[in-house]
């Protein structure tokens, strides 16, 4: 039997290094993709629209104080920017490997699937953070135009927003692992974040009158609420009409509660998503 010469000098890197390699090249693919620029344009459009509206109409709600400015500007729109980033970069991150067949290029190599999953997740986080960073800079720029300082609560809100972004990407990657079709995973994620979560949250609070602690978007309320002084009470009830008439109960996640919801969502969806990807077959 013939002795075979094998390539020496090749030393397969550690799984951690391979995560870095996947991150680097996925990020390169992202920043050159059309979707990255579409997302940037949407973010810039939202920012431009807010800049023009506030500059032209000078709404009292925005200009009452620095906190009210950040609350109205940032608190109402940053979650939308985050969800959009999650959908753009996470929606088909894993399903695309199956549908577009890029997985056939990456996976039959000496690399764990978990390294590919984590590498792509980090790349999506970095790409999304760039978008979030641009939105943050424009927000601060406008804030400094109207007020002299940046309230410390905005720093807290920014940290919560980043944490929420982490969870949103965990969730979108989970859905991306669930499907083999890119369009299906993007569509389901978009519908869930843009409509279903908000709808369930409102229905549960208003009709069943229980705290919707199991909804991710409920936990994300802390991003806007931390900019309110005083912080909104956990439960508040308002009555309509004459005494004894219908009441409306509103729930607000406390900061520890919100952080716990976001954290648990991230951990659970990240683990399930990873397990799904490890087990999914390229049939």
């Amino acid at each position: 039997m013939a002795e075979i010469e094998t390539a020496i000098g090749n030393k397969v890197p550690s799984s951690l290094s391979q995560v870095g390699i996947i991150t680097k090249y996925t990020l390169l693919d992202y920043v050159r993709s059309r979707r990255f620029y579409v997302l940037l344009i949407i973010t810039l459009l939202i920012s431009a629209l807010l800049t023009i509206l506030v500059g032209y109409y000078r709404p009292a709600g925005f200009l009452l104080s620095d906190l009210s400015f950040y609350s109205s500007w940032w608190g109402n729109s940053v979650t939308f920017v985050i969800v959009l980033s999650g959908i753009f970069f996470g929606g088909d991150a894993i399903s695309g490997e199956f549908q577009n067949k890029t997985g056939y290029f990456n996976i039959p190599n000496p690399i764990r699937r978990s390294s590919i999953y984590v590498g792509k997740w980090i790349a999506a986080l970095i790409a999304s953070s760039v978008t979030l960073g641009i939105f943050t800079l424009i927000t601060i720029g406008n804030g400094l135009f109207y007020f002299s300082g940046i309230p410390y609560q905005f720093g807290e809100s920014l940290l919560f927003a980043l944490f929420y972004l982490v969870a949103v990407l965990g969730f979108t990657f989970f859905f991306s692992s669930l499907f083999k079709s890119s369009s299906m995973s993007i569509l389901v994620t978009a519908i869930l974040f843009l409509f279903v979560f908000t709808l369930i949250q409102q229905l549960v609070a208003a009709l069943v009158q229980i705290e919707p602690w199991f909804i991710l978007t409920y936990g994300a309320q802390i991003i806007g609420n931390v900019l309110a002084v005083p912080y909104p009470p956990p439960v508040s009830t308002s009555s309509f009409g004459p005494p004894g008439g219908p009441t409306f109960t509103a729930y607000n996640a406390t900061i520890p509660e919100g952080l716990a919801i976001i954290g648990v969502y991230f951990i659970i969806t990240a683990i399930i998503g990873l397990v799904l990807f490890e087990r999914k077959e390229f049939t």
């Binding site: 039997m1 013939a2 002795e3 075979i4 010469e5 094998t6 390539a7 020496i8 000098g9 090749n10 030393k11 397969v12 890197p13 799984s15 391979q18 390699i21 996947i22 680097k24 090249y25 996925t26 390169l28 693919d29 992202y30 050159r32 993709s33 577009n100 067949k101 890029t102 997985g103 056939y104 290029f105 990456n106 996976i107 039959p108 190599n109 000496p110 690399i111 764990r112 087990r279 077959e281 390229f282 049939t283």
Partner: protein, 317 residues
């Protein structure tokens, strides 16, 4: 490069079921050493499924897929350390250039930093894609992408190559070039396991064949032996000559022991039908070469492999 163990791939009662459908059924096959093995079978026979189990693209339902003795599913990273693969027609991230995509694979496979750039340029040159090295893959045709994927399989100079219909999507020139690459790998003492629908390709490139049908291995042996065993008693080899031979030489060839029949159209390409296996084939070649009549090629006839294939595999999906 240094001497190392003999590379091998082994399927041990390898089984894959998709619901009630058994794609691969208790496939046991061990291939060792420097050779090219053709993996033949009709559509749906289980060829690609088998190759996917060797590359952990799918999990076996039972049994093991071993590469160099290492389980490709439970210890994929170790098993695929020195394996180049081309399964189906992979896509590459469209925004990357071939240089970047191959650099990613080189980094993943741990090709030494100092030799990465040259290695990439070498393999890209081998598949004749030098001028496209820095263009984005998104604009490439299927054939061009397939060439880059062939380059990717060769990139780390692996000792085992698992190729699933490697010439699919290529133009005739590309097919010929890939076949030449595979032949050159045989000279470099690599183990190549390739599935193909093209029997001419298999008889041109491969030393051995494994045939599979309905997920079961039908035969695995050296190509001439398979032909001898299953071609109803006779083998055919095709001999190419530099120039036409005269009637005396023709009669001498006909008189060689075990030769049943010699046919020719222009006296420079002979079809020799003989009885016996690979040893007989070797002896006949030696005798013809000794005649010093300018032998330039000697290979099993394509039509013979086709006839064996059709004898063994009676139904296709």
């Amino acid at each position: 490069m240094a001497s190392s163990n003999v590379p091998s791939i082994e399927a041990v009662k390898l089984t894959k079921q998709f619901g009630s459908f058994t794609a691969v059924s208790e496939l046991s096959l061990k291939i060792e050493g420097a050779k090219c093995v053709g993996f033949l079978g009709p559509n749906g026979a289980g060829k690609t499924t088998t190759l996917k189990m060797f590359t952990d693209l799918i999990r076996p339902s039972a049994g093991e897929a071993l590469i160099n003795g290492v389980n490709a599913h439970t210890n994929k990273k170790k098993a695929l350390e020195s394996v180049g693969t081309l399964i189906e027609m992979p896509e590459i991230y469209p925004s990357l250039t071939p240089r970047e995509a191959l650099m990613m694979i080189a980094e993943i496979r741990g090709v030494p930093v100092g030799s990465r750039k040259k290695r990439i340029e070498d393999v890209v040159s081998e598949v004749r894609m030098e001028e496209w090295l820095d263009k984005r893959v998104g604009k490439f045709s299927k054939g061009m992408k397939q060439r880059i994927c062939v380059a990717s399989a060769l990139l780390s100079d692996p000792c085992v190559l698992l190729l699933d219909e490697p010439t699919t999507g290529l133009d005739p020139r590309g097919m010929s070039e890939v076949r030449e690459i595979i032949k050159s790998l045989k000279n470099k003492k690599r183990l190549i396991f390739m599935s193909s629908h093209l029997l001419s390709e298999v008889s041109d490139v491969c030393d051995e064949v494994a045939m599979i049908d309905h997920g079961k291995l039908i035969v695995y042996d050296k190509l001439p032996n398979v032909i001898a065993k299953f071609s109803k008693g006779a083998n055919i080899v095709e001999v190419g000559l530099r120039s036409p031979i005269d009637a005396t030489a023709f009669r001498t060839i006909k008189s060689i022991q075990s030769v049943i029949e010699v046919n020719t159209t222009d006296n420079s390409r002979l079809q020799i039908r003989f009885s016996g296996g690979i040893e007989t084939q070797e002896r006949i070649l030696a005798e013809i070469v000794n005649m010093k009549i300018g032998v330039i090629s000697y290979r099993p006839s394509d039509s013979e492999l086709e006839s064996v294939y059709l004898n063994l595999i009676t139904e296709t999906l």
